[in-house]
Symmetry: D3
Subunit: 338 residues, 6 copies
């Protein structure tokens, strides 16, 4: 397969309580490593697509363990740089039924937060690449991370690489003195495809709609974004129904400037691991765009991939193309395969 996708962002150690134990009950944590953008790379590698991730780790066993996990799943890790003080962490407690899952982040002062633009050779890292993907988390972490992201987008644009972003807004980040609304527009301007909900559009871009109807209000918001960022040709979004921590529904939409495409709505019950659902969608969408060159198929593939992710432990989607296609073709039966 000739396409190669590069993703960029922080990877954290994930420390999760086993099963449904609470933080205050656990004397052991399950350990894995993940991050919104790395999860996209891991999923793409399971789909058999060339995928590389760029990040920064401390030069110790924990940083090496994080690299190893990505390498295990087939991600090219040669452009990862090492240095700085610590690996960012997050702690996860998995909820059930009416009890929500909880995440405690511990990422301040991480090697990635101390990243400076000159540390990564983006010309080399993006050489021969088809697609570059980033998320709104990266520019929220630190001035250096934002500047690095900007430089990556510039290099990608200069090379004619497709750029996508999940612009999601996390208000608890953005602690370094700049606001999302100051930093993000410049970065979004370099994108071809973005994932954005209405609240992201409002929080980051101050774009809202008064349209009463759901679909028309989405079209209104997405059109305003496209008007402001003419490079952006596709805007996608997923809609999650939270019946409980164990039972969700999921569907997706894509606006291409003229049409608002929709997918079927899937039922997910029980949820095995909620983390990385959006990243799995993104990976599926990128795969679909590159493989099928068809908006509807790409969107459908993305949503089906995301649904499957909810049944898989750890951050990244380990489903194969065949598994996604089985679901895409309507088989939700989960019938035993011998």
């Amino acid at each position: 397969m000739e396409n190669k996708v590069v993703t960029f962002g922080e990877v954290m150690m994930r420390l999760s309580t086993p099963g449904f134990s609470r933080f205050i009950q656990s004397d052991a944590f399950d350990v894995t490593y993940g991050g919104g953008e790395a999860n996209v790379a891991v999923s793409l590698a399971q789909f058999g697509m060339g995928a590389a991730h760029v990040t920064r780790f401390p030069d110790n066993e924990l940083g090496r363990a994080a690299t190893n996990l990505m390498r295990k799943y087939g991600v090219d890790t040669q452009h990862i740089v090492y240095g700085g003080n610590r690996l960012g962490l997050y702690f996860l407690e998995t909820g059930a039924s009416v009890r929500a899952s909880k995440v405690i982040y511990d990422r301040a002062g991480s090697s990635f937060a101390d990243l400076q633009p000159e540390m990564i050779d983006w010309e080399r890292a993006l050489d021969g690449v088809s697609w570059f993907h980033w998320t709104g988390i990266t520019p929220a972490i630190s001035e250096g991370a934002a500047a690095s992201c900007k430089k990556a987008i510039e290099v990608a644009n200069s090379k004619g690489i497709t750029v996508s972003a999940d612009i999601n807004y996390r208000k608890n980040l953005w602690q370094y003195g700049k606001k999302a609304s100051e930093v993000m527009p410049d970065l979004i301007a370099g994108c071809d495809l973005i994932v954005s909900g209405k609240s992201d559009a409002k929080d980051i871009l101050k774009i809202t709609s008064n349209e009463p109807d759901e679909d028309t209000s989405y079209i209104d918001v997405f059109s305003q974004i496209m008007e402001r960022f003419p490079k952006v040709k596709k805007i996608v979004n997923t809609t999650r129904g939270s019946i409980s921590a164990s039972h969700n529904t999921l569907s997706g939409m894509l606006y291409d400037g003229s049409q608002l495409l929709h997918t079927t709505t899937y039922d997910i019950n029980p949820i095995v691991d909620r983390i990385g659902g959006g990243d799995a969608f993104m990976a599926g969408l990128i795969y679909g765009m590159l493989e099928y060159q068809d908006n509807q198929k790409a969107l459908d593939f993305g949503v089906a991939a995301s649904v499957l992710k909810h049944t898989i432990l750890e951050d990244a989607n380990l489903a194969t193309v065949e598994e996604v296609e089985t679901l895409l073709n309507g088989d939700t039966s989960g019938r035993l395969q011998r």
Copy 2:
């Protein structure tokens, strides 16, 4: 917080098969410690309320481990006494779907069963206390336990402490030669608030109703109880719908002598740990009564607390006030909290 609640009763070692393993499949047991009344104290301590538990343990590492668990969760254990032969145990096999959970008790001859009234200095243990709670299990265990319970209620009454009881009837206990109907009335007479279902009322007090309507029959039974025990000003009860071992519904009611209050009915699916659901309700109710001074709010808080308990492993409810209030305010979505 100035309120302090004291609970009294046996604490057992709980030996449960991991996951959904059956007794005859398991070569390891998960270990915790719990008991109907201690579970109330642990839950109250999580709510930030002063809580102490009084019981008797053998003077060995197992008794100390049981004390340690309560202490870990913030319960005052200074009035626990040590001596006797053994720690009571119970074995738990967790069911799923149509298969029921099973409990095998092994509590005969425990240090608590050998308790004598003079072993506990109730004057000191109840000093500065707002609320005393006991259950119908304690007087069912042994003559000494019943006598100790009686003494505790008397001291509580003499100090003007609010007394509550979950009078639940366990027919497999009551092996020491006395019947519940002989022992319980005296103890109930000293209570301000009791938890009682219609079957408890019938089994223990021989009180029944011929009212055809659900609500009116409850009012009838509760009124008869209040007539017989004029100190009892509130009677509460929860109603559980057992769709399967994994899926229950739960609601509550409270009769204050004039009105029968109801709560919403919650859906719990899946159930993570069914044990201690009633104790979690009791703790929530006590917290609500002391904090809100409002029957409806206290009842609602108790039922929401109990619903949350079903999603938490081990005997006691480790939910916080904030978590109960989120549920109480109608958010059953279990949406991920970052």
Copy 3:
């Protein structure tokens, strides 16, 4: 209890990923031993019925561990023979929600596949036996296994022992140069009761129906089978509805040559372990036939047993007669048993 049932077939080591882990995520496997026919024997032994299993294991610690597991659960293992090269294995990944469970077989060249008819003394193994059970898997494994099965059926017929078979067709087996349609009819001819779906009938016996109605088409197919195999007096089948990997429905039917009996349809949610559901049905049916001498009760018992199996880990049904009867009598509440 005087009845004794003998089952015959391969037993494999089952290596399953813990919880919902994927094969590529697991650095530990849970280990048990099972096989379609041995599972029937284990279940019958839990029902208190005499049960023996006949198979062949390698003469090493793994073969002994497999024997030990059956012996643990009360199955008579004295007619198991030892020799050959290896224990067959299968790997299991447990699915959830829309993700299917997966099985990877690794049974080629097993000690059982190398079985020759003269290795087992069927006269002794079937001495004093009431019922002999085999499945369509055995003749699919190797020429020697098929010949051994044939010999067992002949001896059973000569002794007037009731013979049953679950004729299920696995197209991935049958690799030794013969087709199911060449081998199976001879074996089915010696049976009194068979389990067969419409697809098995078509694949193995080329029997189909054009009847538009579900029931009448089953009666049509089953009647054709009985016409061709006059010894077969009862044909049974279960119907599974696959809502998801976690949620199935199950019901059963039995045709006695004149009537098509049905059971209630059970809801199973969540499924704890899907493997061995059919074997649990078979064991329940055999138990019911021998104990109740009533087709409807036997069928009902078989389906209820199978439903319970879905809530029990490992291959074999470890439910007791009491548990099956509780379910059979309509109690699907899974209410805690103290």
Copy 4:
């Protein structure tokens, strides 16, 4: 093999902390089942010898699990009787280096303690048996257990069965009003072979020696015992050197009335599981006596078997004859076997 050995005594659930965790650190226990006499039967079954154990269990899942474990390892369990209130338990914390292992017994009121002589049909249980083995623990548990033991010895004597006993004295038992010195002599009188140290002889039989030399003092004590109990023809003993909880030495001796035989002294480092070392010796000795008809070989086999037991988890020795013989023949190298 024609020899069959029957053992008799209590079997307890063993609850041990994982690895080197302390009781107050553990939230899980490993579970197995064992007892001094049952351990002998399990070990003999691993040696390929016919072995049956007689005991009494509660009629619940825990009793069945205990039976299942023995059955798994090939012990004939058909003479086990069911009834009474509870399964005896013991808790085990495994020490290391200077920290000792600890056992907390919880066996009062067990089904075995409530055993009455008429509950077991000893005529049938000892039919066709070569050897009967009991220990000094059984008569120490209760009057009924002592009486049952007496009856078993009488029946064994009447049938000409060889009777052996490990007479070990546990001062914490013997709580039912009789002293070991009142009860044991009658039972020892029926034995052909006993295991006894000098302290046992002193505590139980008031037999001591003033001989200054180690060997001559043993001969003196053993001769006095034989004089008093003329049926006793062999007295054996093992000597343990406790360098630390992780490092022991072990040797054995046997007196046949004329000679004091010795074995080599083995070094055991590290000890994996100390429990059941003496039972493993006993099983090896019985095996050796029955198979080799040679005191020295039997003694050597017993000590080597006991040494191996220290490297095997759980109560019973799971070593094979081949493994014991490898050690016996001087190969202590533990060289990898492919």
Copy 5:
């Protein structure tokens, strides 16, 4: 017991690989909480002595879990303060034989590092206290931690409380712009007893000796310290022989200004958990000083306690006084205790 000891210092979450797994192999970590000073408090509480720990935790579930662990083991946690950004962590990989254990600290920016002197009410925290203990780690963490330590020592001195310090020098700490030699002398000046090796004396106080003999050089160094810090009346030290990661020797010495006392040298093999060996010594020494009022006995108790700690998992010594005394009295046999 009337003595109460207060300790002060950072408590970290300890994340250790299970068994002997390496960091890069582990997908689970065992979790506990510990710190050099808190370990002293936990050990003292196991000895039955009143013990309180003062520290600062983030106000989240992880901080509460750390508090809970200390509370579980009986430490008074009421003077712990909450706030700041994160809980300090350390990662531990346990070595064996020639492979060393490794620790990766991740404590920068912790809630404790951000501690300011005014956050703790030392007057209240030290009210009614006999002994105050701190270590050289605390002033090395941050300016605020050093100032808090200074204030605590001042208050302790003003109240006539005995003050002890383990002055150990960790060169990787001391990152906030001050050197140990600038900060420590002021703090040591307020101590009655310190633990110091020769390298600590050199690194922190520039005190060395040219005495050729081991003992006289220690006396020389200790005398110089005492001359400089007249309040210091006792200086203690332990000597560890590292045969391998699994096998160490340990002994202790105490100088009282006139005499250099020694202990026996213990052999520790295998080591179960090396962390906290020094803290266990300190706790034993404090206990011994307060209980026995005898330098030699206190020193002996401290070393024996430390030896036992090496056999116990997690940071703190969970040995009891009885266990330490058994070892102290020369019983290193680790003989099974029933």
Copy 6:
């Protein structure tokens, strides 16, 4: 680093009982993947050296998991080919003290055994490579494996790549109709360096010595080998002393045609994982040869690496160059590293 090493051979799934459990006790296996040659590649990758492994796996999740493990540890897996029927397996039971570890192989019919020479493009796989390593296990597996090995050596020779082999003789392999003595000489002829003990030389090459002295007999055997295979310039060997399964000694020797070099003898106690000790030596030796260009340093590095491997779980040595050098420099203290 410019050097790149390619290794070739079968990789098996390793299924090991946890801790010291026996096969017949275990209901879970730890899972990893390893093979004599792949272990060399993994170790070299940990040393920072370029390493690739060539093998054949089934095209299923288990084959992918095996690839993933090597990729995780930095081995280039791009020349692995997929196809065939199954992944070879081996089962491991870890011994202790006098009890030996046991391996049960289950590798017949594996994808690797069915390998044919044309399946691998050796020209590409060996392009730009410095060193090629194989072992005597590969030609013992099947005719195709032997032919593939021959072809690889020919291509390596044609490219001037250094070729090494551990010629170890496993008599249980060699089942395909040819003897080692027929196949091996041709392969050894293409080697520059071999590992061979005296028994290997005798079994494979019929070369023996009558020299009475240990060193001179080794020189004699090695000289004869070199005479017969003039390309072989270095012969190395390790000597293991088996004090017990837990305690070994290890040293190495290297003959360069004129001198017999020796290393120090290391003590390993306790052994954590004995598997792969020889492979770790090989990797260390190759690293040493390529990095230091000094026979003595390379040999010393190899032995120190092997010693460290015994303290590391799983098949491959995960020690770093720094760790090996610490040991090499004489620090066997295992002192805690902070």
